[in-house]
């Protein structure tokens, strides 16, 4: 089982390092990356300052495994990686990193979007939006 969940924000260094790790895989001709960043949504007179993520990890890992398997059947991919934060991620920081690699360009765009949609729709991850008045509300994907 590949590790998806990371504690806290996903750092630019982690992302750069992931790219570097693929330089030895010479069948790859195209990478595509999606990065989701925590946005300072306005909630009435207040603003979101961070999102605190939790998950039902056993079920999430089962779902993520199914999604990975389905992606390899659906698209011509060399490899794919999904990382998602748990715990607090402040606005401006990265909370999801999806990285898709293939011999050629066309498939990676489609695969990336499909994967991000699958994670949002089917993986039990919950987000508590912390507001600047220390109040909170629960995030719902639209």
């Amino acid at each position: 089982m590949k590790k998806v969940f990371l504690e806290g924000a996903i750092s630019p260094e982690f992302i750069a390092d992931s790219i570097a790790k693929h330089q030895g895989k010479h069948s790859i001709g195209a990478h595509n990356i999606f990065l989701g960043q925590v946005r300072a949504d306005e909630v009435g007179d207040n603003k979101v300052v961070a999102i605190e993520y939790t998950t039902y990890e056993e079920m999430a890992n089962e779902k993520l495994y199914e999604i990975r398997e389905a992606a390899f059947e659906k698209f011509n991919l060399t490899c794919l990686h999904i990382y998602h934060s748990l715990g607090e991620v402040k606005v401006g920081d990265i909370c999801i990193f999806v990285f898709v690699s293939s011999p050629r360009r066309k498939q990676v765009y489609e695969a990336t979007e499909w994967l991000v949609n699958q994670v949002k729709e089917h993986v039990p991850i919950f987000g508590k939006e912390i507001l600047d008045n220390a109040d909170h509300q629960w995030k719902v994907n639209s």
Binding site: G36, Y53, T54, T55, Y56, E58, M59, E62, H84, C95, I96, V116, V119, K120, E121, H122, V123, P124, I125, F126, G127, K128, W138, K139, V140, N141
Partner: protein, 78 residues
């Protein structure tokens, strides 16, 4: 004993992320009624997972000792 896991705003309402109920076996419908009487969960949108698979709340399903039940508010990944 039946174990129920709570997440998001339902964990807040239950003031706990997990609970074991003193029942060996009961229907899913009865279980959800019992939890609603304790925590008014019907006010929240949620899905139910039994053994990590989503099931319909109305499904005629018997929950027994070894089953893992979870109440899942709307997903918010990404």
């Amino acid at each position: 004993m039946i174990t129920v896991n709570y997440f998001g705003n339902i964990a807040e309402a239950a003031q706990s992320s997990s609970e074991t109920l003193d029942h060996d076996s009961m229907s899913l419908v009865d279980l959800l009624e019992l939890l609603d009487s304790k925590y008014s969960i019907a006010q929240f949108p949620f899905q139910v997972a039994v053994n990590r698979k989503i099931v319909s709340k109305q499904q005629a399903l018997n929950i027994s000792d070894s089953d893992e039940v979870a109440l899942l508010p709307p997903f918010a990944g990404g």
